[in-house]
Amino acid sequence: NSDVSQVNSGASEAPSGKTGPVKIALLASSSQNGFNKAVYDGAVAKAKELGDVEVTIFDGKFDSQTQFNQVQNVASQGTYDGIVLVPNDNVGIAAAIPAAAQAKIPVVTTLFPVGPKLTELTPQVDGVVSTVAADTEENSKKLAEGVVEYCRDKDPCKVAILIGQLQFPFDNLRNKAYRSVLDPHKNIKVVATGQGNYDRDTSLKAMQNILQANPDLDVVLSNADQQTIGAQVALESAGMDLSKMYVTGGGGSQEAVKQVRAGKWAADQIDFPNSMGKAALEQVVNAVRGKPVTPVVDADTLGPVPVIVTKEVLDQHPGFKGEWAD
């Protein structure tokens, strides 16, 4: 979909080419989280590579208000030259960005776009110079298409969806995307939708419960690796053979890659947080330095593997380990 297009857009937002040391604030959705840590590590690595760039991580505590305040504080202090954002709440945070724009501090968002439209990667808000993310809806559909493929000869093919929390807009979007792919197929029955809350223990419980009503599951479609790991404990203790089922994860963690390689999980939707961190830092420094900025960096293109990996795909990339550990 959204192609990498080199456009010099930053002229209005970016200060006209700051020279000298650059300080970047990385507003993590939570600093105490492996995924965010990987984004940070990537940013730091890129900063070293560029030289004269310093990155500071802020803890968003998985709380949108906290992050909102952090954007404002950074914007008002004048200490930082640019912001890399891993948003907790892509819409609410948009309201804080203008403050940064006013202070001429460019913002690069990663993982999710910022603004009311969840699927629109082109910057929607004045102040955001670049979005380093993937199209969630598209990728979710791709993940679900693997399920359709697997179910082709099965009737009925029983699917359990394990989603983070339906009240999170992006999870809601994912769920709808899954269903838009699965529902047209008469043989596919979504027998349960459990909420895993990105948490192993919660997912373990939910999967145990779901198995009670549906001991003959064929597919577990999970959007997060942590959830799949929890579900795996439940499935295996129920004596099910994962290699015969179709189990997915999402995130591309090292554990997930290991499981897919081992043939336990059928597929995983890969994220490249380290590369995203690198790309985001590069863009934000470009904006600060007054160099050309790429408004949309498709995160799917950043890594060595395609966004949906299976055992076959990984066998072609023996060196790929996954970019983050949970």
């Binding site: 949108s64 305040n69 404002q72 008002s76 200490t79 609410g92 009240q167």
Partner: protein, 323 residues
């Protein structure tokens, strides 16, 4: 009066420095932190930064202010976060569907007050403890907020909707003005009206209050209504600031608000307390957050530091309470 009586000194406010420290512990901690931050970094003591801190935490402070009355009256409102959530999505929904931002924002306090009144009615009618009642109602309200939105957020495009949250009078945000008015109102209610006196006495000794002809249930109900109203006002500011209604917007606010009230020094047992204390409590926590952000300190230590600061404040306020 007999002669011997006048010889005995009256039990006036006890003198000395320890009682002073005990009494103003939260203020002292706030001042210490303020000074520490001011000398640690030049970015702290700027008008913008201070206004930002005030502005950012105004919604929480508004909830804490009203929560003080609830706690003084011997109650506990764990549903303010959920009320915030409902009120903010209703406000957004109304603004979107009527096209009138003003109408939408006005709905928030109304919805808040109504849900608060429902809390109060449940607590007094069913005679159940407010802790459990508001825990339950917060689940119900939270569920309502999700149902209203269908899990999505409601973006408001109507122009002017964000004026309340982002605008201000000169450099002073409206939120700060509203907080100020709200705190003054609550302080006035508590100290200068019959209602405040009733709140204090119901919290101090509900049976004695009842025997003095006070409608204990009604007083309690009003405190919860007021708390709901505050959550609604906070939600109006919040939704206007963000420009969209979200079903999780209020998550966790209730705990922060209660923590601030208690940290301020209002007694968890009811009967005594003050509005300014809770405001200090909110901003003590806010300064720690702000300090970490502007000092570029390792966020790994933030929770730890917050815990230690709270402990210090509380230990101060309990300094040498030995008999």
């Amino acid at each position: 009066m007999t002669a011997s009586a006048s010889a005995r000194p009256a039990p006036a406010a006890p003198p000395g420095v320890l009682p002073f420290i005990r009494r103003y512990a939260v203020l002292i901690m706030l001042a210490v932190l303020f000074v520490v931050l001011s000398v640690s970094t030049s970015s702290f003591l700027t008008v913008t930064n201070l206004l930002n801190i005030l502005n950012q935490n105004a919604p929480l402070a508004i909830i804490a202010v009203a929560g003080t009355l609830v706690v003084i009256c011997g109650g506990f409102d764990l549903s303010t976060g959920a009320i915030f959530s409902v009120a903010n999505v209703v406000a957004a929904w109304v603004a979107v569907n009527t096209g009138s931002p003003v109408l939408g924002l006005l709905c928030a306090p109304l919805v808040g007050a109504a849900l608060g009144a429902v809390n109060g009615a449940a607590i007094t009618r069913l005679r159940i403890h407010s802790f459990l009642a508001t825990l339950a109602s917060s689940l119900v309200y939270g569920g309502l907020a999700v149902l209203i939105t269908g899990g999505f957020l409601i973006s408001v495009e109507a122009p002017g909707f964000t004026a309340l949250g982002r605008g201000g009078i000169g450099p002073v945000y409206y939120a700060i003005v509203i907080l100020l008015l709200f705190a003054l109102l609550a302080g006035f209610l508590l100290n200068y009206t019959t209602f405040g006196r009733y709140v204090l006495s119901v919290g101090g000794n509900a049976e004695a209050a009842e025997l003095s002809g006070i409608r204990v249930d009604r007083v309690k109900l009003y405190t919860f209504l007021f708390s709901g109203l505050a959550a609604g006002v906070a939600a109006a500011i919040g939704v206007s600031r963000i420009g969209s209604g979200q079903p999780q917007a209020g998550d966790g606010l209730q705990l922060l608000a209660i923590a601030a009230v208690i940290l301020g020094g209002t007694s968890i047992y009811g009967g005594v307390g003050a509005i300014w204390r809770s405001v200090c409590g909110v901003y003590l926590l806010a300064l720690i957050d702000n300090g970490f952000d502007i000092l570029n300190a390792n966020p790994f230590f933030k929770d730890l530091t917050t815990g230690v600061v709270i402990l210090a404040a509380v230990a101060l306020s309990a300094a040498s309470k030995r008999r």
